[in-house]
Symmetry: C2
Subunit: 159 residues, 2 copies
């Protein structure tokens, strides 16, 4: 019960931050990352403010938490987001290997407010050639050279 | 024919950058963004170097191109990637609204080299509660407040 209350309290804080962000011209999204129930990162959407389409709240919070912990993974951390993470943020969550994610509203709510989250979720599972953005693989003899160079590198750091 | 040669030449350059990146301890991935057939951004994976799990080549190239054009969208730009973009980068490509994407190797090649791209592609279409990372929506009365605040904001800037 205590845990559920914690999750709700962190989500309420995230929602308040998202509301506040709209007042300064930012998008209506925010995220918080906790480590041992302590907030170590807290960010709001800054796409238009930073001229950076990747500056979603979750991405910024993950980057900030990694700087705090001086690690590129967040295995013991929990992310709270005012809205269900979009596929970009979901990918970032997997690469950061977060422990758990809690969110308040979902991709359909975001679609009603005019955001593409749901559309992008529909695009991801498609074969590249069937997507709405033109995507094409071009076969080249050198295509695997980066991986050969990587596997030959003794001190490579897997992530 | 000229166009196809251009695409191949840009991809070759991307592959060479990815190979070079492994020598300095970076991941075996690189990306280039062109605007009117001119390179405006060129980046290599910096996850372990920057301690940033979102620092994939495509994300860095998109952020860099946006700074160059001073815009949060890249409608007229083409992205070249040494490898098929992962779901995080694919999401970033949609949010940046790139015109087209060309890549050399694919998610299966990345999996053989030890990277999670293919695994994450399998996770995205699942319902949040069935994913390998615990994800849960918590219903709160305030969940839609950020969107109400956003829609009430006259000068909101859609992205």
């Amino acid at each position: 019960m205590k845990n559920k209350m914690n999750h709700e309290a962190f989500l309420q804080q995230t929602i308040a931050l998202a509301v506040k962000n709209t007042k300064i011209g930012g998008g209506p999204f925010a995220a918080i990352i906790c480590h041992n129930d302590k907030i170590i990162a807290s960010s709001a959407n800054a796409v238009t403010l930073n001229l950076d389409p990747t500056a979603h709240a979750e991405v910024l919070a993950i980057r900030s938490a990694c700087q705090t912990l001086q690690d590129f993974q967040l295995n013991d951390c929990v992310l709270y987001s005012s809205c269900e993470p979009c596929p970009m943020c979901l990918g970032a969550i997997y690469w950061a290997r977060l422990k758990a994610v809690y969110f308040a509203c979902n991709r359909e709510d975001a679609a009603i407010a005019g955001f593409d989250d749901s559309f992008i979720y529909d695009e991801v599972p498609k074969d590249p050639e069937n997507r709405r953005i033109m995507m094409r693989q071009i076969s080249l003899d050198s295509a695997l050279h980066p991986f050969s160079a990587w596997l030959a590198h003794e001190n490579r750091r897997l992530y």
